[in-house]
Symmetry: C2
Subunit: 340 residues, 2 copies
């Protein structure tokens, strides 16, 4: 990993919004969906997408065409953690490929569930910026490729939940204070009613690890891209206000202690599981966002989250590791990062 | 507190022995025991002891005569924590006094349970040195005062458990590894059989806070001072060996992690109870003793233990404090001490 990655920058409203993600699903007219396509058709789609993206010679400076066959399992696991590919795509090796921008903000999975999945990520809140970037890539592809499109339905996709715009816009929110006052369930019920959904980004079950929640649109049919994004932005603004108010109402002394204890453990532990790390880094993030911790930045927190996934830790060690060894390596990565 | 206190030095066998304490109980012939004496007799004993100690003009450079009435409750509580006075003596204000050496290694309580309680403390293991110092003070007092002494019984004391030598020799041991392998109960049963006792120095019930145990002689009658001390030293050496062997058998990685997590919490917490502090500092002490932590010394640990008692914290703040405020102040003291 080099230092120009998108997650090393600090975006807008970073106190509560970790990142923005836009995803567009597209398929090519006249070719079966990936679930029913031949190896030859897969290779044809790869070629079409690759040629479209690299039709501009300068695209070589920005993008890389990555064949999944060329990656070892540790690298693939780390890519899943960085949301560059889906867990499903990670299992698709034979002949599959993706196109990746060097800063990792753009990822185009070829023949995942749909022929083309364009994803744009950026730090903080920037739905408009991320959408415009995805739209530009969509238009470039559209100028070379004949998309499967129906006047009445819109873009055709493998799964009916993506029919229409093929757009999934999502925000990764950091909501530790709303979580602490048990306000997530109510929030979830509210957003459901207006075609959005909120769920834990990490961890299983209802409680999100690290208090990180993904707020995204559910409806893609009968609604414009603009409306979907506007709805999401409106609810996000409201949620951010609520989270900020809830942070204000936390007992400052208790918060101060919890935040610094977490930092102390991160800086000194010699072994750390992924779930403990997420719990502690969430508190540190809250500490930075509320101004209690001044010696570290939100970008450092984001960098650590990226570096501390099980896949990333093994990628750093360039080999597979047993959990105990991995936990020690993770602790070492954290100490090194926080020592600087 | 200035920097020349006895507990700031590092004694022998400091990895397992925190401190040595010698106490001699003496009474004055012809004066009733403190429990039955008049205010006038109390004042007479004060005068006799004071005059004896300060008979040498140079004693003024070494000792201070402290009237309990002159001390506020916060200072008294801190003195109990530093073992300069007993909790019982702390409640004896009216007319009571003690003589204290400036480095706090010598404390002579006047009219606690007995007329005279000479106490000598030193860092690490030094029963011989501490006893010789106590003996010298005993001889000085004996050259001015006629002690209550019986040829057959030895020194007469209020409580029969002190009759004879009036000697209590004790070692404060740090036994985290023996405690971790549940070896304390067996050790306790063994030492009981040979007239010694071992008990937690801090905390209630059987489990000692901070894994600190006081090993001391129980028998004072029909045994010479030398034999009592030799027995204690022999059992101490054996216990120290066992503790060291137990430390060797601990899993190094687990120890490393536990030790550094404790250090991290001490360095970063914003609020810390006395009991949590003791638990953490015990691990840090073990870390220093086993060579895992090199950036701090055992003397710093001892200093912190002295500084972090509830009384000491309030003494530092020069006022009484509610527990929550005290916990924050304690955390601040720890951070400051460990930052240097």
């Amino acid at each position: 990993m080099t230092d120009n990655k998108w997650y090393l920058s600090t975006g807008n409203e970073a106190d509560t919004v970790i990142s923005t993600r836009i995803r567009l699903a597209r398929n090519i007219a006249g070719i079966p969906f990936p679930s029913r396509m031949s190896a030859q058709q897969l290779s044809e789609v790869n070629r079409l997408v690759k040629n479209a993206i690299f039709s501009d010679p300068s695209a070589k400076d920005e993008y890389t065409y990555v064949e999944m066959d060329s990656l070892n399992s540790v690298t693939v696991a780390a890519m899943v953690e960085r949301h560059l590919i889906s867990p499903e795509f990670a299992r698709m090796t034979d002949g599959h490929a993706l196109i990746l921008s060097k800063d990792e903000s753009v990822s185009i999975m070829i023949c995942e569930e749909d022929h083309i999945r364009i994803q744009v990520m950026c730090a903080g809140l920037d739905l408009k910026g991320a959408y415009e970037r995805a739209d530009k890539i969509d238009q470039l592809l559209g100028s070379h490729i004949n998309f499967a499109f129906n006047e009445r339905l819109g873009y055709l996709t493998e799964c009916p939940t993506n029919l229409g715009t093929g757009l999934r816009a999502s925000l990764m929110l950091h909501l530790p204070a709303l979580e602490a006052c048990n306000a997530i369930d109510r929030l979830s019920a509210t957003v459901d009613k207006i075609g959005l959904t909120i769920r834990g980004t990490y961890g299983e079950g209802s409680k999100a690890l690290a208090s990180m929640y993904q707020l995204s649109n559910q409806v893609t049919l009968g609604i414009s891209e603009q409306t979907a994004i506007d709805n999401l932005a409106a609810i996000a603004m409201q949620t951010m206000s609520q989270e900020r108010a809830a942070r204000e109402s936390l007992d400052r002394d208790t918060l101060d202690d919890a935040v610094y204890r977490s930092l102390g453990l991160l800086k000194y532990a010699r072994s750390m599981s992924g779930s403990e790390f997420m719990e502690l880094i969430s508190k540190v993030r809250l500490g930075i966002a509320t101004g209690l911790i001044k010696e570290y930045s939100l970008a450092t927190v984001m960098q650590l989250i990226i570096e501390c996934g099980a896949g990333a830790v093994q990628e750093a060690a360039r080999r597979e590791m047993e959990p105990m060894e991995r936990d020690r390596k993770r602790a070492e990565i954290i100490r090194t990062r926080l020592a600087s």
